[in-house]
Structure formats: C-alpha cells, structure tokens
C-alpha cells in the first residue's frame, strides 16, 4: 500500500499537465453530449418565434420568453399517452417473452448433452447476424396471410410488431444467458435432484433466482431495443391509434412544418422519462447493453 501511495504521488507531480489536458478533452466531449439535450429542453419552454433567433439564453419562468404553449400544443395535437401505452405494451410483451423463452433454451443448451447440440448452437450464433432488413418482408406477408398484420385492429397490430421483435432478440439473449448459466456450479442442481427435484423444478427454484442479474441484463436490452426500434414499427403500424412513441415522433418531424417549439417539446416528452430511468438504473443499463458485446 505504502509503495502504491508513493508511486501515485510521484505520478501526480509528473502528470499534472497531461491530467489537465485529459480533463479538458474529456469535458469537451461531455459538453457535446449533454448540451444538445440541455438546449432542446430550454427551447421547449421558449416563445415560438424566438427559437430561431435567440436559442442560447435560458428562458427563466419570470422572463417574457418563457411559455408552456409548446407543451399545450403537443398535448392537443398528438396523443402522447396513447403512444406511450402502445410502446409500453409492445416492449413489455417482447421483454417478457424473450426472458421466458431465452431462459429455458439457454438452460437446456448449457446443461444437456445431445446429438444436434453443436448445430443448434451454431444456428443461434448465425442468426444473430441476420439483419432485420432480410426477414421483414416475408414476415409481413406471413402475418397478412395469418390475419395478424394490416387488419386495422389495434391489439392485433401491436402483436404483429411483438412477434418479429421477440425473434430478433432471442438469439442474443440466449447467448448472454448461456454465458451466465455455465458459471453456476452444477453441484447445487445435483443436490436438489437427490432431494427429488426434476429439471423443470430446478430451473425455476435454482437457475432463475441465481441468474437473476443476467436476466435483468437481458430484459433491459430487450426492452430498450424494442422501445427504440423504428424500422419494424414503421412496417407494421399504419393507423393513428396504433402509433407508438417513435412513430409519433417520426410523424411530428414530417408534419410539424415550421413549428419548432412543438418539435422541441415532443423531443423532451420522449427523452425525459428515459433520462429519469437512466439516472436510476444507469449501472444496470450500461452493463445490459455492453455485456453481450464483450462476451459474444
């Protein structure tokens, strides 16, 4: 310890300038990351006409440039609550299905030995490479034939997005969960087996509780991926009452014309809830979105 302290002391003296330089550059990138969000928030409270001439000052509530009109217009012109309901319905269903299906499959692929195992695993890895572009058109046609897509019924339409999104998330989640389940010592399961517990009971009573952190990781990934996805949703959702948050934004961006206050307010309405969740859960989220990349 003493050696280490001395080591860092000499370090600090020698490295004062590089340290300062490092902080400067890191802070600069930090500002380019944060400032656009800050800028759009302050401008969502600004009187409409002034955004294009004076967008850098802060419109404090006691100033003449302050207004809540942009939010009033946003609430009147676009049904944000409906859009949030649709988005959350889709994303929660996708997350639940992915966790259940991927968990069971990952457990079986780790613990069982069987003839086709190698090929099945290879298939899972290969399917992570399928871009959504290469499956969406046949999926659309199939769902039209099955009477799920393009029916004009809201819940069916939401389901038509949920199904391909589940498939798109499964392979990745299976791989991540396999990595974790492999690290659980099999002796616990064998002890439970001697006590008369079957593999299904073992999955629910041992694997699921022990692997909870990695299930959290997988759920966060699946949720955000589904929630933020525009491509699949544009394909399957056409009617106003089916609109999700991303579709609503896409709509506003093409129809708001020169109402920049409305655009700014809409961006804030979408970014703010995510920001709050991010501040609370950032550790899990960052892990959730990068763990697969590092392992896979």
């Amino acid at each position: 310890m003493a050696a280490k302290a001395k080591h860092s002391l000499t370090h600090i003296r020698r490295q004062k300038l590089p340290q300062l330089l490092s902080y400067t550059m890191l802070t600069f990138w930090g500002i380019t990351t944060v400032y656009p969000f800050f800028w759009v928030i302050i401008n969502s409270f600004r009187v409409k006409g002034e955004i294009r001439s004076d967008s850098f000052s802060i419109p404090w509530p006691w100033k003449a440039s302050f207004t809540l009109d942009n939010y009033r217009v946003a609430a009147a012109r676009a049904d944000f609550i409906k859009a949030y309901t649709n988005s959350l319905t889709i994303s929660l269903l996708v997350t639940a299905a992915v966790v259940i299906l991927a968990g069971l499959a990952a457990y079986a692929l780790v613990r069982y030995e069987f003839r086709l195992k190698k090929y099945i695993y290879g298939l899972v890895v290969a399917s992570m490479m399928f871009p959504v572009f290469s499956t969406i058109i046949p999926v659309f046609r199939m769902e039209v034939v099955l009477g799920i897509a393009s029916t004009g019924k809201r819940l069916l339409s939401l389901l038509s997005v949920v199904l391909p999104q589940i498939a798109g998330n499964l392979s990745f989640s299976i791989i991540v969960l396999m990595g974790f389940i492999r690290s659980i010592p099999v002796e616990i399961e064998e002890a439970a087996y001697l006590d008369g517990c079957g593999p299904i009971g073992i999955y629910f009573r041992i694997i699921l509780p022990v692997a909870r952190p990695s299930f959290a990781t997988v759920s966060i990934f699946a949720f955000l991926w589904s929630y933020n996805d525009l491509f699949t949703q544009m394909f399957f959702l056409r009617f106003p009452e089916e609109r999700t948050i991303t579709l609503l934004l896409n709509e506003i961006s093409s129809q708001a014309g020169v109402n920049y206050g409305l655009m700014a307010a809409s961006v804030v309405l979408v970014v703010l809830p995510v920001l709050l969740v991010y501040v609370l859960l950032q550790k899990n989220i960052i892990k959730g979105l990068t763990v697969g990349a590092i392992k896979g």
Partner: protein, 296 residues
C-alpha cells in the same frame, strides 16, 4: 456435463421447442423466403408473387444500372469507414484519457453512454433542429461567433454527408468507450508498475503496454462497428428521408425500405436485403481474419 439429472432427454423438448419454434417461424423461414423473393416478381407488400422474374436474376442486374444503388452502396461504405475512425477511434482516445485521471471517470461514463438509450428517432428530430437552415442551433452559433452573413445549408450537396454521419457517430461513441474502459480496467496495475521500472511512461506506456494489451478488445469493437454500420437506419431516415438532397444520401437500409414501402418494388427490396446480408458476412469474415483474437 453428464450428471444423472440430465440423462433423461424428454425435458429438452419443453425447454428448447418454444424458443426454436419462434426462431424457425420468424427468423429462419423468412430469411430463406427473402432470398427466394429476390428472384420473384412481387408488386405489393403482403401480396403473393406473380411468378419468377424474367430472367430470374433480373433484380441483381438492375442493381448494376441503378445510380441510387451505387450511391447507397458508396454511402454505406463511407458509413463503415467513418465508424472505424470516429466511433471506435474517438472512443479509444477518450478511454485512454479517462484511464489517466483520478476523479470523475464514472461520471464521464454515465454521460457518454446516455445517447445510446435514447431512441434514434428522437435524436433525429433533435439534430434536425440543430442543423436547421433558417435559425438552427449551429447556424445561430456560427452567426454569433464568426459574424457570417448567410446560413449554411447543412442538407445541401456540399454538407449532407457530414450532417448525416455526425449524429450516428456522436450517438455510439459512448458504447465503444464503455467497452474500452472495461478492457483497460482489466489490465493489472502490476504490469504498469513493472513497465515504469523499465522506464516506460506517458505515451511510451500507451503505445508499448496499453494498446497491445487492449488488442482483443479493440478487435471486438472493430468487428462490432463494421458489421453494425450496415444496419444503421433510424437516424438517417428521420433526418434525410428519401435521399435528401437529390437522391444523394441513400444508405442500403433506407433505400431498401423506400423500395419496399414507397415504390412497391418488393422483390427489388428483397434483393437489396440479400446484398446487405452478403456484405455483412464478407465484412465479418474479413474483419475477423484481420483482427484475429490472440491469447496471451
């Protein structure tokens, strides 16, 4: 793994069947059908094919003479190159800098990662406000800094490429940053202490110790970046839509969507999707070969 617990194979069916039924129906089958579709004549989404194209590889010939396709291919390759240089490169630089500082590394990580959890649709809208011709954030900034008379048209033929690429690069720097930081934290301090005894400090230490030890992480990031660049869709679509300006900004993804949805040439869209897959596989193979992982 051949514990008596896992000798009976019938539970395998319960564990594996649900997930693989899903993958088969919504991923494997559509993937194969899409390749077939690219040889058929399909005039509308969700409608049946009207026989084979004449000749069956007609769409692949059409690609050669389609100037928009050349543009899309070129832009997607530029996107790939920019990803390597700016996303991975900048992230590496920032990670090396953050490795040198004592305080605030966590804060920078939290800030840099934030744009990744925001939907690209919202970011597209935000950047549309930033790059606005008449009174956008940048044009206001330039006007007050340099006293320039005219506004810059960021979506003109001269600047559109930077306008399209910047937000994509900006959004994902944090992702690779976090992966690099994790890799840097895995390098033990003993290695550095030994290096210091040998007189390796500052930049020397970075080039002779840190970077070689970071090789595998760097390779992972490069492979991820290169294969991910072909899948970019949301941000360019919200900002550039149908190839603004004058069919110059097409990417493979956006052009495929436009062909399928707005121009009704579904089989051509399928052929473009096949091309995206082929390019993705080539990129993955080449980058895996170039940046082969080494064990130390």
């Amino acid at each position: 793994m051949n514990s008596p617990l896992y000798r009976k194979k019938w539970p395998l069916l319960i564990f594996l069947l649900p997930a693989f039924a899903f993958l088969a129906v919504f991923l494997f089958y559509p993937f194969v059908q899409n390749i077939l579709n690219s040889f058929l004549n399909i005039s509308g989404l969700g409608t049946a094919a009207a026989g084979f194209n004449e000749p069956w590889y007609h769409d692949y010939i059409k690609m050669h003479s389609d100037p928009n396709m050349a543009t899309a291919l070129k832009n997607s390759l530029i996107m790939t190159g920019a990803t390597i240089v700016f996303q991975v490169g900048l992230a590496l630089l920032l990670a090396l800098l953050v490795d040198r500082i004592k305080l605030g590394a966590k804060l920078f990580r939290t800030i840099y990662f934030f744009p990744i959890v925001i939907s690209a649709t919202a970011l597209g809208l935000l950047f549309n406000l930033i790059f606005l011709y008449n009174g956008g954030m940048l044009n206001q900034l330039f006007a007050s800094l340099f006293n320039t008379a005219g506004n810059l048209d960021f979506k003109s033929e001269k600047y559109f490429l930077a306008t399209m690429l910047t937000p994509v690069m900006w959004q994902y720097v944090g992702f690779y940053f976090v992966i690099f930081v994790t890799g840097l934290n895995n390098i033990s301090s003993e290695v550095y202490e030994a290096a210091e005894l040998d007189g390796a400090e500052g930049l020397k230490r970075t080039f002779y110790i840190t970077l070689p030890l970071l090789r595998n992480v760097l390779c992972t990031c490069l492979v991820l970046g290169i294969t991910g660049a072909l899948k970019v869709f949301d941000l360019p679509w919200v900002m550039m839509g149908e190839g603004i300006p004058m069919d110059k900004s097409w990417l493979l993804g956006t052009y495929m969507y436009s062909q399928a949805f707005n121009r009704g040439d579904v089989d051509y869209a399928s052929a473009i999707a096949v091309l995206i897959v082929i390019l993705g596989v080539i990129f993955a193979l080449v980058s895996n070969k170039l940046f082969k992982q080494k064990d130390y």
